[in-house]
Symmetry: C2
Subunit: 487 residues, 2 copies
């Protein structure tokens, strides 16, 4: 039959990301290396996405020991594993029916909802959390995907719109488009640490209303890839905005556990909402997500997350329950999530190593990477207060922009593709995150180890001379800073 | 805002499964047991779904050892694991970027497509398989879900229809409805081992064309829950049917590795199609799925599967590739799939145990369970040739049917709910699998160990006296067969 007539037009609307072309280029390069072709590097380092384990981040031993013991329970009875690991694995194994091969209930393994609810109540210093309003997911995207499946139908006219921050990654592009909604961009302020201005939200909403039916505002806090952490005042402004404009509030709080800036604190939207009191606390409909894929766990391959609904209409939640009844959830991701929500406490045998790992891995290295990056000629970077992504601006010279256009490429992609070819380093062009022409950025997930960081920054530096402006800062100055020779 | 106006009507169309009510009943019962309420049993045994690990099936040690070693790589260097385990884990770990915490590529970890393609070529004795036409998934439902997302759009009028076998589980209900398609039932012949008759397909197609735009025929072989295994002749008839009627063919071949009947063989639709030659082999568009969740692995909690497309229009496959570019796949399920596709070979240290496990677990116990079940008064069962589900018919007496109707319940659900309350055994009512009123069945996944089987059958027996007809076979005769006292 002619299938082509069948193809869902929404699928055709999915925008191809440039990153995909870079991944293909990486595969080709690695194939060439394998076949013995000489390159100035031995492997491709991919820092283009939030995938820390792929760039050398070590997983937390406790998490992995617990999961390995659940997978192969003979380990529980062996002396290979510390006592607290065996104890935790035994408890979890009982909750999942004795085997990780069991299907999970559609609402998650029995303890999960309570675990999330206890975690949220602790985190929000007593703001109550009901386990019936918590939904276990494959990860953050999945949570919003479910919400959008419930709220959006492809044939609605005008289209359903979701106000989405720029820069930000896949959500605006993929999950949204596939559901039949449309992303309405609002722009974060790249001159002021990627802050969100309410005036910009108002402008975006006005222009959205001309082309679609905007139903929700999507915020990411701490920002990804921007590293911005919202202040309480800014969050209150946003809550007032969605209240007045009768929008749902979708909060991606995936990076809540990585805080870099000194004195920087994470406050959840749920807490701010509760503390603002009536009429906001009873009226604003909030959906918030978190997962073990991002944040300090970085266990992207394991797939565990949750979604919490606040103030959702009970009749709508019945429909959501119905949709959830179709879910089949992977067990391993839930185990990772459980350990993330209930980390080791002081006094438990594995505690020391665990805490040290978090501290060392995250804060120190991200801070250091930012300092070095911002010192490079031709590159500038807004401060990183949370999360672990860098989003530096490239000051591309006119010659590079001109050459890119001659080759019919976006200038940022042109830079990324050249960088990958010449150094084996794969970063993501800012245009993939929705940034319009005019300024050029790259997304770069700071690898957790200092050595890898310094190495990557050196690679960025090598490409600097031909393609980036010097901004009066000679290369030698940066090398001096790095205390490494330039050869 | 009033969210209710937003709710996607497709979500409202999702039919609530009675099994969900039984699961809730189970939770309530277990809570009561925990609180010390006296019951004639200590726990609920749930055999209502294909979830063998939940009913005591032991996972294959090799699979779990490999995965545990990938999760916690310190095990690779230890003497805790056999040599072949450590070797396999090392190879796999290299393929996934060194950590199970890494995100997988959207087409799966690099070796996966080749692994599947090699497996298929071996299985189909040389029928070629291209890795570019293979898509790694979270499991079978996910594969069809993706296909339906590509092919179905909610607002198409008339609705897109998929001919779906009855009895069969979730697919007809959930994945399909959520995509906006409609399931058109065709009925398998419960008098003849649940065979599929082409005349019934023609009847179903004619009636479908009055209400929707039927685009595909969905078949399950080996049958689930029916245990029927299609003959080559029957498959050829079906291929001719879809060719003539210009339908896509969706083949769920999830249970291909569990063959029970003596001399029973599995042949894939792809192989039959290839061997039928032109015009069929070039024209019939086939999508086939398999997974590690069902079959002899039964690793439902781990989520690994694949989908193969045959003869799909290249321009349509481009759209499918675009859709796939949104995927984020769990790593652990892919590892389970890889071990399933490349099982141990004779001579490898862990081989003996592995083979023995498969043989003992599956064939012997399913055969035994069938024999006993079919001998019970008030229950009859068609032969099981493949898969591990039982789908016995209940000969409910009029008094039981009458009582069910008085309580406004479906008679099969009435039986299941009573059985659960009185014995702690949870089975699935046939009406959940689409069976219309008139005959009553239960789905019951045969647990893999003989002891559990005998125990469960005894439970079925206890409920027999009040609710099932005796059919002239006294209970004592069955007890004699079981060689167990009736107390």
């Amino acid at each position: 039959m002619s299938q082509h007539r069948l193809v869902n037009p929404l699928v055709r609307n999915i925008r191809a990301l440039k990153r995909v072309a870079l991944v293909r280029q990486s595969v080709r390069i690695e194939e060439e290396i394998k076949q013995g072709m000489k390159k100035p590097y031995n492997e491709v380092i991919d820092v283009s996405r939030d995938n820390p384990h792929a760039t050398g981040m070590k997983p937390m031993s406790f998490v992995r020991q617990v999961i390995a013991s659940c997978i192969y329970p003979e380990l529980i009875d062996s002396d290979k594993m510390p006592l607290d690991v065996r104890k935790r694995a035994k408890t979890l194994l009982e909750c999942i029916g004795g085997s990780v091969g069991c299907y999970s209930d559609t609402i998650g393994i029995p303890i999960m909802r309570d675990s999330v609810s206890d975690f949220l109540t602790r985190r929000d210093e007593g703001v109550p959390s009901a386990s019936g309003k918590i939904f276990i997911t494959h990860g953050s995207d999945h949570g919003f995907g479910l919400l959008l499946t419930m709220l959006v139908r492809g044939d609605r006219s005008p289209l359903v719109g979701v106000l989405t921050p720029v820069p930000s990654q896949d959500f605006g592009n993929a999950t949204l488009v596939a559901s039949g909604a449309t992303a309405v961009p609002y722009y974060l302020d790249g001159q002021q640490g990627w802050r969100l201005h309410t005036e910009e939200l108002q402008r975006a909403l006005r222009s959205a209303r001309e082309v679609c039916d905007p139903i929700a505002l999507y915020v990411i806090n701490p920002g990804d890839p921007t590293g911005h952490v919202q202040s309480r005042e800014s969050m209150e402004e946003i809550i007032r905005f969605v209240y007045e404009e009768k929008l749902l509030l979708f909060a991606n709080e995936d990076h809540q556990d990585i805080l870099i800036g000194e004195g920087c604190m994470f406050i959840s939207y749920k807490k701010v909402l509760a503390e603002m009191g009536s009429p906001f606390s009873d009226a604003v409909e909030l959906a918030s997500i978190h997962s073990a894929s991002k944040g300090f766990m970085g266990e992207g391959g394991l797939h565990g997350g949750y979604l919490e609904l606040v103030n959702f209409d009970p009749s709508v939640q019945i429909e959501f329950d119905r949709l959830i009844s179709l879910l089949v959830l992977p067990i391993i991701g839930q185990l990772a999530l459980e350990v993330m929500l209930n980390p080791l406490q002081p006094g438990e045998p594995s505690y020391e190593h665990y805490q040290e790992h978090i501290r060392e891995t995250l804060v120190h290295n991200v801070t250091r990477a930012f300092e070095v990056l911002d010192s490079l000629p031709g590159i500038s970077c807004e401060p990183i207060n949370g999360g672990a992504s860098m989003f530096p601006r490239l000051h591309l010279p006119h010659t590079a922009i001109h050459q890119a256009k001659e080759e019919e490429q976006l200038p940022d992609f042109f830079y990324c593709s050249r960088l990958l070819e010449q150094t084996g380093l794969c970063v993501c062009p800012g245009s993939d995150l929705g940034l319009p022409e005019g300024t050029y950025h790259i997304r770069y997930k700071a690898p957790p180890t200092l050595n890898t960081n310094v190495f990557i920054i050196l690679l960025l530096l090598f490409i600097t001379s031909p393609y980036l402006q010097s901004e009066n800062r000679p290369v030698s100055e940066c090398l001096n800073f790095l205390k490494l020779p330039y050869n």
